[in-house]
């Protein structure tokens, strides 16, 4: 039982990392970035590149975050910059197309089967026993990395000038630009940061499962979009709490033997939240209601 909760927290922390990215982009641009799930997927493959090139495994994380961030900038350039005042779904569709191309190219390069990722055994299988629960080092690693990244993001958004600009643009792009904030620059920051987090989540997932899988974007990754709605659109705190909550609920449904129906939890939870509390759990989602500049 406790082991299941720990497991749920670990899966949930990865959901949270992806959901934060969705919610940041939605908060600032009021648009859905469908390429986000594939940036997450590609994180594992970028890590594979580093390991296959002979570098030590712990170098993967900074490399993957930079590569994913750059892909994020490319997504912003291709799918978002041109559609500023346009119908909202244009950018969503364009980013969806980018995601499809990313999946297909990954399939073409690495094949359609999951590819094993070579991480030393002392990370993936070794562990220790704490209060009767077996804890594997990789679980600790995932928790430590996600906590560190979330803390860093919190400091970035709440304490730095760049973070203040992000909050200002999220509040009102027009007002922010009138006050001399470079909205395009802020948008790029947001895409870099959110994609770097998604890439890190993809790498951590690959560490945990031992495989880089090109299909996780459309399965694991898309759940984060529901978690974003559960936590409140544009609310980072909500994304974190929602991710952890759904992770634990999912592993508990597996525990109680409902089997694959555990996959339904997140979507059912989202529909319930939309019915009962449309603004999300925290209600801080600034874009729960139609906002017009």
């Amino acid at each position: 039982m406790t082991a299941q909760i720990l497991n749920g927290l670990i899966v949930g922390s990865m959901y949270a990392l992806i959901a934060i990215g969705f919610t940041l982009v939605l908060g600032v641009l009021d648009r859905l970035n469908f390429a986000h799930t594939e940036v997450f997927m590609f994180g594992a493959f970028a890590g594979l590149l580093v390991i296959d090139a002979g570098f030590p495994w712990w170098l993967t994380l900074p490399f993957v975050m930079v590569v994913s961030g750059v892909i994020g900038l490319a997504v912003e350039f291709i799918s978002f910059r041109r559609f500023e005042g346009d119908v909202r779904i244009t950018a969503a569709l364009s980013s969806l197309a980018v995601g499809l191309v990313m999946i297909d190219l990954t399939h073409k390069v690495w094949g359609t089967e999951p590819v094993g990722i070579n991480v030393p055994n002392f990370v993936t299988t070794a562990g220790f026993t704490l209060f009767g629960i077996r804890v594997v080092y990789v679980q600790m690693l995932i928790l430590a990395v996600t906590l560190a990244l979330m803390a860093a993001l919190h400091l970035l958004v709440s304490r730095t000038r760049a973070g203040r600009n992000i909050r200002a643009v999220a509040d009102s792009p027009v007002a922010a630009s009138l006050l001399g904030i470079n909205v395009r620059r802020v948008t790029q920051d947001v895409f870099f940061v959110s994609s770097a987090l998604a890439g890190a989540a993809g790498l951590l997932l690959a560490f945990r499962t031992g495989y880089a899988n090109a299909d996780v974007g459309l399965t694991f990754g898309l759940k984060a979009i529901a978690i974003m709605a559960i936590g409140g659109m544009g609310d980072m705190r909500g994304a974190v709490v929602g991710g952890l909550l759904i992770g634990v609920l999912e592993s508990l449904t597996f525990q109680f033997g409902v089997g694959k129906l555990g996959e339904l939890v997140v979507w059912v939870a989202m529909i319930l939240v939309l019915l009962i509390r449309p603004e999300g759990l925290f209600g801080g989602g600034i874009h729960a209601k139609e906002v017009r500049a």
Partner: protein, 276 residues
């Protein structure tokens, strides 16, 4: 073989129209594959287990599909269009997982034994749906849909109930997708939950965008070309997602305002009035 190609093209045309009618209210649905599955399984279970005649099962399946759409669309459409994207993505997953896990629907193994759909049935369905959509485009309802899409606040201030109009379009789309699904299942004889993957829903949306959304011919053209072309060009079949994806990206970049901009009937009329 040729009959197969024609049949799948026809099914995709129906699906493309089902996306189009939802898009008329400015909303995007990624659940058309799920509604297709609901229609397919509902009709299949009725004909194989309860001996309902095929032609009676089809409208019943359409009704079930539309009812599901109204039930699940309501929480999302009540709030904002963007939520419909989330709910429809979720619905696609839920339907697939549910079909795979309940033995009543045949589980992962799928459902078999349906038969009776021919190219003629499909042709009739396309003609009927096409005629209805054409009549719609000439009716006052089209202008209500235009108003809701172009500016929902103005539409609301004119006394249009946004939620009902959007729900109507979403339900109608689901009914058309259910029709496509019922025909598809009774032609294939054997279907599995895999047949209704989320990629099906995504591709149908892309057909519509590539074909254009100005009128009902765009989705028809998009679905026809995009289904038939890969069957005849081998390289295109292998690189399908990349080629489609790049085509969408390039077209959106070249004509950022183009692909999704609807030509308004009112714009044509006011243009005429100005000329006189």
């Amino acid at each position: 073989m040729t009959v197969d190609y024609l049949f799948f093209t026809g099914v995709n045309i129906l699906l493309a129209w089902s996306v189009y009618i939802v898009l008329l209210t400015g909303n995007l649905s990624f659940a058309q594959g799920a509604f297709m599955a609901i229609g397919c399984y509902a009709a299949g279970i009725m004909t194989t287990r309860y001996g309902v005649p095929f032609l009676a099962a089809v409208p019943a399946a359409m009704a079930i599909s539309a009812a599901m759409a109204v039930v699940f669309g309501y929480p999302a459409l009540r709030i904002r269009g963007i939520y419909l994207i989330l709910v429809t993505v979720g619905l696609t997953f839920c339907v697939r997982i549910a079909l795979e896990n309940f033995s009543y629907t045949g589980g992962v193994g799928g459902l078999k034994g349906m038969s009776g759909a021919t190219l003629w049935h499909l042709g009739g369905a396309i003609l009927a749906v096409g005629a209805l959509l054409y009549l719609l485009s000439r009716s006052p309802l089209q202008r209500i849909l235009d108003a809701v899409r172009e500016d929902d606040r103005v539409a609301a201030s004119l006394g249009i109930n946004l939620t009902y109009v959007k729900l109507f379009a979403f339900g109608a789309g689901a009914a058309i997708a259910g029709l496509a699904g019922a025909l598809y299942g009774h032609y294939l004889i054997f279907v599995r939950p895999d047949n209704f993957d989320i990629l099906v829903s995504i591709f149908v949306v892309l057909y519509v965008i590539l074909g254009g959304v100005n009128n009902l011919w765009g989705p028809l053209l998009g679905a026809t070309v995009m289904t038939l072309l890969p069957e005849f060009i081998r390289a295109l079949q292998e690189w399908r997602p990349t080629v489609f994806g790049l085509a969408i990206i390039v077209m959106l970049l070249l004509r950022p305002e183009g692909l999704l901009s609807f030509r308004l009937t009112s714009a044509r009329w006011s243009g005429d009035a100005g000329g006189r």
